[in-house]
Subunit: 418 residues, 2 copies
């Protein structure tokens, strides 16, 4: 196998013989027609055809076939298919790569399931795409949190606050000791709280805090907008002394993220909203494993992975696999920070740390901080103490003994997970 | 209902009481937490909360619940839900709109199905987004085809041709009388046939043809690439006298399409590759009806809808609904040209015309032209004669009597559809 090849891994289901289905898929996504046409020489096929690397039958999951599937349902089999694509077919361009590995193949009617699971990419992609400009180290430096889990929160209510109300919320949160605050993904650039007014309201609060403590908490302003507005939105944040911008990756597009990266002087907080649309089904779409590689190449310094015991549909195993995927080295890029959110609180620290073995994480708690019975400062303390305890190798039981804030948190959020 | 509201229509399935599920969804996508937080006043909720417009139970389809769904499967119901979102929540920004109507909602575990079907958008969007710059009229003018169906084809084999081989193929196709030729979506800007070399090979062929006939066929060069390269790619085509650029909408992103539109002096041929990833499942994702509105606002002059009797999974009914959706007026925008492709040939003209009632269509045939037994010129003639016959009100039987090229086509492609 050439070092210039791309290998894509899929789940497929089909009533065709598996080998035949794999050939249809490989053909559709490379030299490309069901029938041979003029000039489609054997030489051309040898150079450009996608090739089957491996094809391994796996058990059916019981999920129903995709709409429009043809073939005898009783014959249906599921398999993991790995296909090799010559890089020359598209060059090291992420959008053009996607045309091959994730293009029309989702519409093939012989496939009852077709999901892109993973991508192995050659070094040429890292030569073209520098990836995160800040990553773990740059983020820690900017927020003044050299060790331990980075503790953050989300502004709530998510929308509807006036800029002056927002300043009040941020004052409380930085007073509580958070490292990081983010806009909700629903908070864009609407008329009630335009980005420029949010920046004007928030930055003085952060600067005053920095004057007092020497540390400026990181605030991720959601600059998601039309591509042509991203640079101006970013510049507005940077000019005011902001240290982070947030982009909803699927709303500006992976290509939009890459565009922002090429013009950004700040870490990019990559939110995955709308990801469920392409990934929740086990029968169709693109899995996190493949998607996160493109997001990292495109420059996401922080990437949402969800957290264990979350309020969404993902199991702990899926979440832990997502965190591990983001932490896996990729073509020499700077490490991206996994962002754990949804239902997070101090009582999840020990279980999470036991599974991931690192504190190079940004842990976001909405309710876990805003909703602590003794207020936000106690919420932050409960999380910081729990994570420090976990990292030191203490048991959760000992953490509960030593941390009054964590003990109080259990009164609202239930028992600590071990 | 305010004229500034957005209404989004969904299919949902849930084991919660339907009304309760609708409220969870509306809450998550607007004022936003499952629990009330400080400053979430009744006034704020009244102004910013998404509201249920209607909720109508429909029969279950039999498709399995999305992974991670909670609740008793026996209680599961399906419904069409319409939600109203105040425009002030996001302003007339398409990316920020999507955060609300298609953001985290796909991950809600109480939903066994969640698919965005349609969007009703207020005029503010058309004030910000001018939509197609050329549309039907501009496309007809540029390709010199004032009336009748626009007949086009795709370069085959899709990838692997050298620029000189490409010039040969294009020479044959323009000689055959096509109005339009497009690159395959797999043909990007790879090292074998870089865009610059394709332009250099193809444009002289088109110009010589124009010198002879007075008409320059339209060639859609696939300029899909990183966002930062789109403008240069476009300029290269425009400078060489090209009259169309093609963008794979889901690969540059809807936002990337809008960015290209703002910098393009040529019609944009909008390819929908990878659309199946977000739309093929009936349980999750975004349906064509909603997606095409955003694509049109973002400036797609041509938009792929698939065609009847296609080789992909969609039924004729779905295809015809897609064509009708693209032809439906939208906020005063110029009409986008529906692009029918996949398995198209002359024998589908009468059935298609009977269903859509217009020839303001770009009909692309690969095999139907390249694979005609008497060659590409006969393939084009068979399609043009069939469409003219259909438009004139003739029966398909009469068309077969009058058109030798159509008769010969049936020997390969089977009987004419009526």
């Amino acid at each position: 196998m050439s070092t210039d090849d791309v290998v894509a891994t899929y789940h497929i289901e089909t009533s065709l013989p598996l080998e035949r289905a794999a050939e249809v898929l490989a053909g559709e996504q490379s030299t490309g027609t069901f029938v041979r046409v003029a000039r489609e020489s054997a030489d051309l096929r040898a150079r450009f055809a996608a090739q089957i690397v491996s094809l391994e039958e796996v058990p059916l999951t019981g999920s129903s076939a995709l709409p429009g599937t043809v073939g005898d349902p009783a014959e249906r089999l599921r398999a993991v298919l790995r296909l090799r694509f010559p890089l020359d077919n598209f060059g090291p361009s992420l959008p053009n790569l996607l045309a091959a590995v994730a293009g029309n193949l989702f519409e093939i009617k012989e496939l009852a399931a077709i999901k892109l699971l993973d991508l192995e990419l050659p070094p040429a992609f890292a030569s073209r795409y520098p990836g995160p400009a800040f990553g773990v180290a740059g983020t820690r430096r900017l927020m003044g949190r050299e060790t331990g889990a980075m503790i953050g929160t989300i502004v709530k209510p998510s929308i509807g606050l006036s800029p002056s109300e927002l300043a009040e919320v941020v004052t409380e949160l930085v007073g509580a000791g958070v490292d990081f605050i983010k806009d909700d993904e629903l908070q864009g650039n609407g008329p009630t709280a335009p980005l420029a007014e949010r920046v004007r309201a928030v930055m003085p609060v952060l600067e005053r805090h920095a004057d007092r403590t020497g540390v400026k908490p990181m605030y991720a302003f959601n600059i998601t907008d039309d591509i042509g507005r991203l640079e101006a939105n970013h510049d507005l944040v940077a000019a005011a002394g902001g240290t982070c911008v947030m982009a909803c990756i699927n709303l500006v597009g992976l290509a939009g993220l890459e565009y922002l990266r090429s013009r950004s002087s700040l870490p990019i907080h990559g939110h995955r909203t709308m990801f469920g649309a392409i990934s929740r089904s086990d029968q169709v779409g693109i899995a996190f494993g493949a998607w996160q590689k493109i997001a990292r190449l495109s420059g996401a310094d922080h990437l949402h992975t969800n957290g264990i015991s979350n309020k969404f549909y993902e199991s702990d195993a899926e979440v832990l696999a997502a965190i591990a995927a983001v932490r896996e080295p990729l073509l020499g890029l700077s490490p991206t920070v996994p962002v754990l959110s949804s239902g997070q609180w101090g009582g999840l620290a020990h279980a999470t740390y036991a599974a991931v073995g690192t504190t190079d994480l940004l842990v976001l708690a909405g309710g876990g901080i805003h909703g602590h019975p003794d207020g936000a400062a106690a919420g932050v303390a409960s999380m910081r103490e729990a994570w420090a305890s976990a990292e030191s190798g203490e048991s959760a039981a000992l953490a509960l003994e030593r941390s009054p804030a964590l003990r109080r948190a259990t009164e609202v959020f239930g028992p600590v997970r071990v």
